[in-house]
């Protein structure tokens, strides 16, 4: 067999040439994905003078850890923001996953009489939304959440798109007969949900959990709208603020030059990049833990039967 290997290749394997091309292509793609981040790390370690003089360089003229020392000097705010971000992400994801799965499970069961109405209700919000101002009024004036940590969590808990995904997932992957047998054995609805549905749907749940985690971690807009108290500013919002302040300075040079002392505390390019590194790290580190589920979860949309 071996001597004939050339002619009768294993049909499961790629032709060596194709293999090389695909490997190179995927390699380029992988580098394109990871390169910006490596570049950011390099810039964060470049000395400020070198940036002013030569712009961003792959191999900078002078290295420096000034940017990280600067971040260390503002560690009070940084740790605080880290804490807020972590709290919001963990609690937010937990609440969000629970609410979405509850809702999706209910409208996925044929026994539930109003499931059409509630499906439409969720679906409706995907097509029409109230807009920014009504949202703001509800959050600040009805719920009075302004300057509380809940303003960062609650507006993002429900997401119609995830509800529809989960509903489809429950309908396709959890067969009615399993639930029926559980019911015959005398399990309550809660028990069915947490001990049967939940483990069976883990891939789907992990997928929306990952989406939520990313959503909460990267969100800065809620903080922009609802948070004035510096103690409640999450990490991404802190980063956005610095960027927005730099932009403001550029556009209002006259104010900036007259009130120099006000803006002297705004960090420079390298410090900005160092903050990006610090803000991205936790998400990059936690990703592999989700990946396993993520891959199986992605087939949700595909037809299974």
């Amino acid at each position: 067999m071996k001597t004939m290997g050339k002619k009768y290749r294993d049909p499961q394997r790629l032709h060596p040439v194709v293999n090389i091309i695909v490997t190179v292509l995927l390699g380029i793609l992988a580098i394109a994905c990871i390169f910006p981040f490596i570049y950011v790390v390099i810039i964060s370690l470049t000395s400020e003078q070198s940036i002013v003089k030569n712009g961003f360089q792959l191999i900078p003229e002078a290295w420096s850890s000034d940017a990280y020392q600067y971040l260390w000097s503002m560690r009070g705010q940084l740790f605080r923001s880290y804490g807020v971000s972590i709290f919001v992400t963990v609690v937010g994801t937990a609440i969000s996953v629970l609410m979405i799965t509850f809702y999706a499970y209910a409208i996925s069961r044929p026994q539930f009489q109003y499931r059409r109405f509630f499906t439409m209700l969720a679906f409706f919000t995907m097509l029409f939304s109230g807009g920014l101002v009504p949202m703001y009024i509800v959050v600040t004036q009805f719920l009075e959440l302004k300057d509380t940590v809940w303003a960062l969590i609650l507006p993002l808990t429900m997401n119609a798109f995830y509800i529809i995904i989960m509903r489809t997932f429950f309908m396709k992957s959890v067969s009615e007969s399993i639930l029926e047998s559980a019911r015959i054995d005398g399990a309550s609805e809660w028990r069915i949900f947490f001990q049967i549905i939940f483990p069976l749907s883990l891939p789907g749940i992990a997928t929306i959990a990952l989406f939520s985690t990313l959503g909460y971690w990267n969100d800065w807009f809620q903080a922009l709208l609802y948070i004035n108290d510096p103690n409640l500013v999450p990490l991404q919002s802190l980063l956005m603020k610095i960027e927005a302040n730099l932009e403001f300075m550029r556009e209002n040079m006259d104010v900036a030059n007259m009130q120099q002392s006000l803006f002297s505390t705004i960090p420079q390019e390298s410090a900005k990049m160092a903050m990006v590194v610090i803000a991205t790290l936790p998400i990059a580190v936690s990703y592999p833990f989700f990946q396993k589920y993520f891959i199986s979860g992605l087939t949700i949309g595909g037809v299974k039967e």
Partner: protein
């Protein structure tokens, strides 16, 4: 049927709950106007400071006896300001005083977001009215009414050419000869040849002596001198062509960076890599700039001081129509702008904590002022009652007064164009301007070729219709003046 009824019932309960909840809120908000101490909610621009609470405890102790009110000041960071303040105003959030400026002020005043304070200026704000430069109050009128308290500071704009003094001295340039853009040429040449590390011109847009209806990018203006009744497209004038030609010549000679038209480089002053730049001045600006840059800067005016809409509406504290007690808010603004103790407390912090003061009322910052209570002076109120720093000239505020008095009033001062009738044309024109203006004003392209192209496109986009509309509104406004 039974189930459906139950569902409806539940729905009503929920709706009812929400309604009562907001009803409650309204009834509690009504209290506090009489007898009780009223809390004034004040939103202003700037990075939130750690010591704000501490300073405002002092402020409240002081003003409680005077006007029976307390103030809660909330700062919103520079970059967040525009979006956040707009959402707050649009949502009708209840608050009392808010910082505003420029076109935001005019639009919100026209929308009815701010209280017209003309009547209050004769009652609660009597002292304030006497204190503030009448040009400012006159200039910020929208449809004949005043909608806020302007910061009493420089009321005029004067654009200047600023020079790096070290290089001026080194090559012995005579700055008194500089009047126009063309006069810079010999100096730029010397710098270009002898100073390889210096960019002769920090990127700026060529100055043109027009009073703009919107801003310098949009093709609607009235000349400061000559026929000041007619709105024109200033990109069609010979002067513009000449100026842009000069700028193009400078660009070709390499006096400007090659990416001038697109670069976002802000040319921070503390980096000494430029020879000449443009900016707006105020009395003793060179001192402030030199202090910030840590090397000397010297300026030459490019125009006479002129009072324009932008220069009078640079910083305004307006009272919101959602305020439960506008009179109290006015009383506070009155006190803030006339009482030196309060004004300095809000601006500089607490004496001996944030600054020290000697017998002559001359102050010096302590580290805590920079680190823990660093607020933007220009936005908060009257400048003329602020303490002076040791390195401030003694006659600083007199010079401000002179500067304001010497200023010429622009033809459109107090005229605010309502762009609703020609919104579509204006959007198209904005796009065309964005495309051509940066390249032309920095000299990046040849004006002989591109300026006619620019004007042709503007014509096609409905320039004449817009000019006509502006002209008719302008005439109407002039007739009522």
């Amino acid at each position: 049927m039974k189930k459906k009824l139950g569902f409806l019932l539940a729905l009503f309960v929920v709706i009812g709950f929400i309604l009562t909840a907001c009803g409650d809120e309204e009834s509690t908000a009504d209290n506090g106007s009489d007898g009780e101490t009223y809390e004034i909610k004040w939103y202003t621009v700037g990075t939130p400071q750690p010591d704000t609470e501490k300073v405002f405890e002092e402020v409240n102790d002081y003003i409680k006896d005077k006007i029976n009110a307390t103030v809660k000041m909330t700062q919103i960071d520079w970059g967040d300001w525009d979006q956040k303040s707009q959402v707050m105003i649009n949502s009708g959030e209840p608050f009392d005083i808010i910082f505003t400026n420029g076109t935001n002020y005019i639009q919100n005043a026209q929308k009815g977001a701010f209280v017209a304070i003309d009547d209050m200026l004769d009652e609660e704000g009597k002292e304030l009215k006497e204190e503030i430069n009448p040009t400012l109050l006159e200039g910020i009128k929208v449809d004949g009414k005043i909608y806020g308290v302007p910061s009493n500071k420089e009321a005029a704009r004067q654009t200047v050419y600023s020079f790096n003094k070290r290089l001026v001295d080194k090559y012995d340039f005579d700055l008194s000869k500089v009047k126009r853009l063309e006069d810079l040429e010999p100096m730029l040449k010397v710098i270009k040849e002898n100073e390889p590390n210096i960019t002769p011109m920090a990127t700026f847009n060529a100055y043109l002596p027009y009073d703009y209806i919107f801003n310098n990018e949009m093709p609607f203006a009235i000349p400061f001198e000559g026929n000041t009744d007619e709105v024109i497209n200033h990109f069609e004038s010979d002067l513009t062509m000449e100026t842009y030609k000069t700028m193009h010549q400078y660009f070709n000679a390499g006096y400007l960076k090659q990416d001038a038209a697109t670069s976002k480089d802000s040319w921070p002053m503390d980096v000494e890599n430029w020879f000449v730049r443009m900016g707006d001045t105020q009395p003793y600006a060179d001192l402030v700039w030199s202090r910030a840059a840590k090397y000397e800067i010297v300026s030459v005016p490019a125009e006479q001081p002129v009072t324009i809409n932008d220069s009078v509406s640079g910083a305004i504290q307006a009272i919101s129509t959602t305020s439960d007690n506008p009179e109290k808010a006015m009383e506070f603004l009155n006190l803030l702008n006339t009482d030196p103790y309060l004004r300095n407390l809000v601006d500089k912090g607490i004496e001996d904590v944030h600054y020290t003061k000697n017998e002559d009322d001359v102050i010096e910052d302590l580290p805590a002022r920079i680190e823990r209570y660093n607020v933007p002076t220009y936005s908060l109120g009257n400048h003329f009652i602020l303490y002076l720093y040791e390195n401030d000239p003694k006659d600083k505020w007199e010079k401000f007064q002179e500067f304001n008095d010497s200023a010429m009033e622009a033809p459109t001062l107090g005229f605010h164009f309502n762009s609703d009738p020609i919104r579509t044309e204006l959007a198209a024109i904005t796009n065309i301007s964005n495309e051509f203006y940066p390249a032309l004003a920095t000299g990046s392209v040849d004006p002989e070729e591109y300026l006619p192209k620019f004007n042709k496109k503007l014509k096609e986009a409905g320039l004449d219709k817009v000019i006509q509309e502006i002209q008719s509104q302008f005439d109407e406004w002039k007739a009522t003046e």
